[in-house]
Symmetry: C5
Subunit: 360 residues, 5 copies
């Protein structure tokens, strides 16, 4: 029940890994029923071939052939399939462990014949205000790229379309540009998530100024944690791209580096926006607290003033309610009206005084 | 409606870019109706020519000719014009993307035959207390400078005048000094914005000390966000100028570097002022809160004391309002006056006590 | 009594060391009665020998022989035994001092013929919410590893099993891989501790939202201190592994370094989780305070409103309780009902007003 | 009126500079009426000459002659004089701009034949609690030093005396030692300002503990801003002296560098004191707030308890003030005394209860 | 009177130094009456000589002779004696200035023939909760060490004993090991001070949880300042030892460097403990405030509830105290008991309601 709530940045059941030899692949994400499928697109400047539900052997063949091969694996919970793919492409056991470890933070690691990149895909659900992160791995080798997603998604569709339609310079570039394009697609989706989150924050900001309800505060806390999760995905990415740009193995060609710098700029922009939201959320906490205490103070002040005005009046009434035998005022014909007059005068004087003091 | 409010640092509709190939130019600023116009000033030590509404071809010709050429583009929403200018001057597609991307943060990027500089022009509207930032790009090549503004403005007028009137050393220097002069003009305008903001902050400070109204607090929050926007424009500039100064391509001549150091100092001065304002605004929050709670406490204290003085008196009145048949005091001739006297005594004793305790 | 409480990060009786020459071994942990025992496992790819309660001389012999020797010392309070082992293996006096100094923070130190690594084992007791840290030392020499634990534990059992069953690549690797495996086992147990702590924090978070009791706050403070203790164990580890990876003595073989990088990633993951918990705990403090003051304010508001509604009514009652002889209303047949009606009207008007103002 | 208040770190009318070519000298300090005067001291180990109100030409002559020449310019608002002096000594236009720009922050800049140092002189006025900063520039060339002050002051008198009386090693050293001595004199005066400020802070601390008046809080805020101004003068100085010490041009002789390190230590000491004051002032804010709310709470508690004790008593009195015909107690002979007794008992029980609960 | 209070980190009368030439020795500590005495221990592996109240000439002789000479100066207020010692050992004037300047922060400075080390001795007085710092200087030359203390103390006794009794390796090592031993003795005493402070903090923590009295808060503030003073002594030490370890002059022998690394570790341990205390004290402030406001809120809540229950009852009593002629209830035989019953019912209903709402 309770444990169904997911906290960003908290891998589930990571402890199931304890005691296993390093390099053991343990999928620690949510259990999934979908079959894992492998799609391949193989292209060069003039042709392209597309294969759905390809076999691991076919992957090995195409990866070895000339032309850029993009192997896209949808789903990482089939440990056996990923292991055989890893064997076929000669991936290091630790790379395989990281591919299925959804708790792995973004990083770039260079191996002799490939570069391994971990990314986080991010989407923001506007109805639940929940940030969903998905673990994405990229393997960039000399003439192929392997991408691993947690589930079949539409983030890479734009890249697929550009290959199919020969749009942009993608078809005329090598595997490194393909890897860059995939990373760029992921970062582009960050903007979507950040903007949606921004809209929610703006709404919340208006709400807090007009009607500071405790629920709004809980939502601020909730969004703060979402922002924390976002930062954890985006901040390491910055360093990661820097590492790729500085990479001296021939896997990243010089003409691609300008594009990596551009991607770096986009990442900084996302970080800037995320940090701005963080500042704004931090400020909203203060605004909320001072608004609430302001309202409360105003209420208490008004109520206390009402009580304060009536207390002396009640005293006067009590005074003439005393039962002494010798109270001359009680006999006066106009005594009652005088008493009423005194009360009215006291009430007016106090009200005027409080108003002059700007208490009312 | 709501979405008309602009938040500093938040590009609008950046997500419209998602899925497009990198290097695609998408103007994401406010939609504008004005035609984009290109002005050219070509000068050397002895002559100068000025051209308004020049064609792209003319730009290419003059840029290639000896003499320093300053091409000023007013407006960046005409993507086609900027693309053809970029083609004519052989600018990198990513540079063109950044020129029209108003969300791009300040940066300096070196390309083989030019340096690309992004700046933010800042102005502070004193009536709305709103900071307006404008995206400015500079291209510095060997003998020409291209500047891109979001709209025709008066910031560069002083530079234009100095060229026309041969004032200062501008006419006798090369393109790098022109680029420096343009950056210097932008930074000079920062001082104007910062000082105006400073005046507003001083007014607010006085207001908070004398009459702490919640609106003042909202303005403090508002100004804090403006300051955040300001910082985002100014902080990267510092790094940027440092990079230019250290730049080893021959595009920045040694004699210009002393001026860049001077510009660097000015930037630091702006940053200092901005940070001082930030500290002051942060302190104002505290001052406001303690002033408000002070006032509130004072009010509550006075009211509670009034109530506390009257409550025992009302009790005494109630005592003699009891209807017991055998209450000897009620029969006494001076009973009423004694009761009044006791009440007066109790009231005076309590007032004196509270005063002695410094509660009143 | 009081001194039985242990504070994380605070060595006990460290001052008993004052005035002793450096290199003097002083065990400053809790006094223990258990005998210190030494277990040895000696293995190569084909064979392995296991020895329980081995003598120091046997350690020296096996350490000198080919094949990887793992000497595991359970208990560090027998200073004499550790000294003779140190003499036999030619350890530096300062290393011996650090092995028994449970206050020593994690560090890596290179000596001519061995590397000395200090770690902290961590376990989290869910019933007492107490973090227990244990001081672990590793000596990595060319073909042996010595591990020192404060007490016999089960953390290294998984490594032992892997040696016995030839699981994974452990048996085919050298002493450096064994040392890595031991460190990996320790870090794997961090995940256990962190997850248990995380569960406790989640429970606490729910509790604070639904029923903010002061005890919950004290537990938050308590957990904050446990987190501080955790950080002190984990943060230096990061630097430590970095040092090992960069180590240029031949003791760490190149093929082991990829595994150290993997271990480094795991450490970063633990740090990330710990920092996330810290943020969450920090936020819980704020949530608690605002929840408590919210509840309190709500109560005070309702009570004050009740009082405010009754005070004018009581005044009216007091008015007609006055004993003036000439009060025409008192004679009216319907006077009493009119008074009741006026009171009812005043009560309703005030309630409606407060409701409209959203005070009720 | 209002604009007369000076904020530390905020140059006045800096915006008057906007649009002017760089290197244009604009004095932005307060307008001054005093004439600018130039004093010269020329000395070597055996002789010294002193000249008051010297002409610019004389400066040029002496600066060129052997022997150390110290040109002291009192006042920087006479832009013409400084420009002709700059021309005579071949100072860079940007140096001249910085000499008269009182908003320039401390820095060290190396030029081919001289080093330019900007300092801030600081004095603390104990009656107004106002920090006054003065802009000081030093030009250190091979055998002369030029110092610029905003007005004739006594800070450099000790240096003058040491030259006149051949005290210390000043007369036997070169121009770099003179420059060091002038900087040392400025830093020595920092101690005076800091100690005076420290006395004020200590007084304030006592006052806040004994009688927390809102005015004290405003003074704390005021002093915090003064400390901000102080930091801005002192922090960059640290870096500045480091740069001078590392300076590789022959202008700083090796024997002077030990003295610069000493000056560096003094600067660190000033910074330490300033930071300590900052911490203390920050803590005073907390102390003040908790003291004030403590006092207020105590008052409210006592008053509420008084009210709470009387409210049930008043209720009892009201009970027997009811006019029912059949109230047997009213007929009892001892009814009145019993009622009084019950009231007394209730009052005593409540007081005892509150005392036991430690509420009173 | 007031000025007798000492603030940590605040040198007294430092301003008396203003205007004096650099290198002038001014003792700025408390005025002392004790005579300054010089003790010498001269030793090698086989012999040792001890001299009390030695003359400066004897110091010079022994310092020049082979064998390690330790000159310990008790008291630094006799400026003349230190100057003549400095002349005899050829110390730099700035070193002498720093030896008597008790405001000098810890640092290490290398001179051609000696290394100068400044340390702070720290002791914590448990009755006054006051941290006392003492200025300690060490001069390490090739075969002698000079130590300067503010007064004769027992910190170095353990080192003296080890020389006398040939304990440890001290007698067989050179002057650098002696200097290390003295620094080690100082750092060992830090543990004493820190542990005493820790005990006090633990007591305070218990007190704040059980009985949050304002005095406890003032003590927390007081201890915070003591911690500040402690940090100022310990933090620079870390850097200092690092510098000594990296020192490339032959004065520090390689075999001593392992011991310096050990000392470095101890310093880190002290820093860790100090920082932990700082965190704990910071948390105590929050705990105190929330405890106090909790208690206050509880009191106010209970009192307000009592008042709220009685106010409607008093109103009912007032109702039947009205003097209308036609009030049928007054005539009813059971009217009085009915009124009492209604009051009881209202009281019970309200109490139950408040209890159900968990307000009581």
């Amino acid at each position: 029940m309770k444990s169904k709530k997911k906290r960003p940045g908290r891998p589930r059941n990571r402890s199931s890994n304890v005691g296993l030899p390093p390099g053991t692949m343990v999928y620690i994400g949510d259990q999934k029923m979908d079959a894992v499928s492998v799609d391949i697109i193989d292209y060069n400047q003039s042709n392209f071939t597309e294969l759905r539900e390809a076999s691991v052997e076919r992957c090995g063949e195409l990866a070895g052939a000339p032309g850029v091969t993009w192997i896209n694996v949808n789903g990482i919970h089939d440990v056996g399939l990923i292991e055989s793919l890893g064997g076929c492409l000669e991936l290091h056991p630790l790379t395989l462990e990281d591919i299925v470890n959804t708790g792995q933070r973004p990083k770039t690691e260079e191996f002799p014949h490939y570069i391994y990149v971990v990314l986080k895909m991010i989407s923001f659900n506007e109805t639940t205000n929940q940030l969903a992160t998905e673990h994405v791995s990229l393997i960039l080798a000399d003439n192929y790229v392997v991408s691993f997603q947690e589930r079949r998604g539409d983030v890479f569709d734009s890249v697929r379309d550009r290959i199919r339609n020969s749009k942009g310079r993608l078809r005329s570039m090598k595997a490194d540009y393909l890897a860059y394009s995939l990373m760029d697609a992921v970062v582009d989706h960050y903007f979507l998530a950040v903007e949606r989150m921004g809209d929610r924050i703006e709404d919340l900001d208006d709400q807090i100024l007009t009607d500071p309800h405790p629920n709004a505060m809980q939502e601020v806390h909730h969004l703060k944690r979402q922002i924390l999760g976002m930062r954890k995905a985006v901040w390491p990415l910055r360093e990661e791209i820097r590492v790729l740009e500085k990479c001296e193995s021939g896997l990243i060609r010089p003409e691609t580096k300008a594009f990596l710098r551009d991607l770096y700029d986009h990442t900084i922009q996302v970080i800037d926006m995320v940090e701005t939201f963080r500042d704004i959320l931090g400020g909203m906490h203060d605004t909320f607290l001072s608004n609430v205490s302001n309202r409360m103070n105003e209420i208490m002040k008004v109520l206390t003033i009402i009580a304060t005005i009536f207390i002396p009046l009640t005293f006067i009434a009590g005074l003439y309610g005393m039962n002494f035998e010798h109270m001359p005022e009680l006999k006066w014909a106009w005594g009652y009206y005088m008493a009423l007059g005194v009360m009215l005068a006291v009430g007016i004087v106090m009200t005027v005084y409080f108003r002059k003091k700007k208490w009312l």
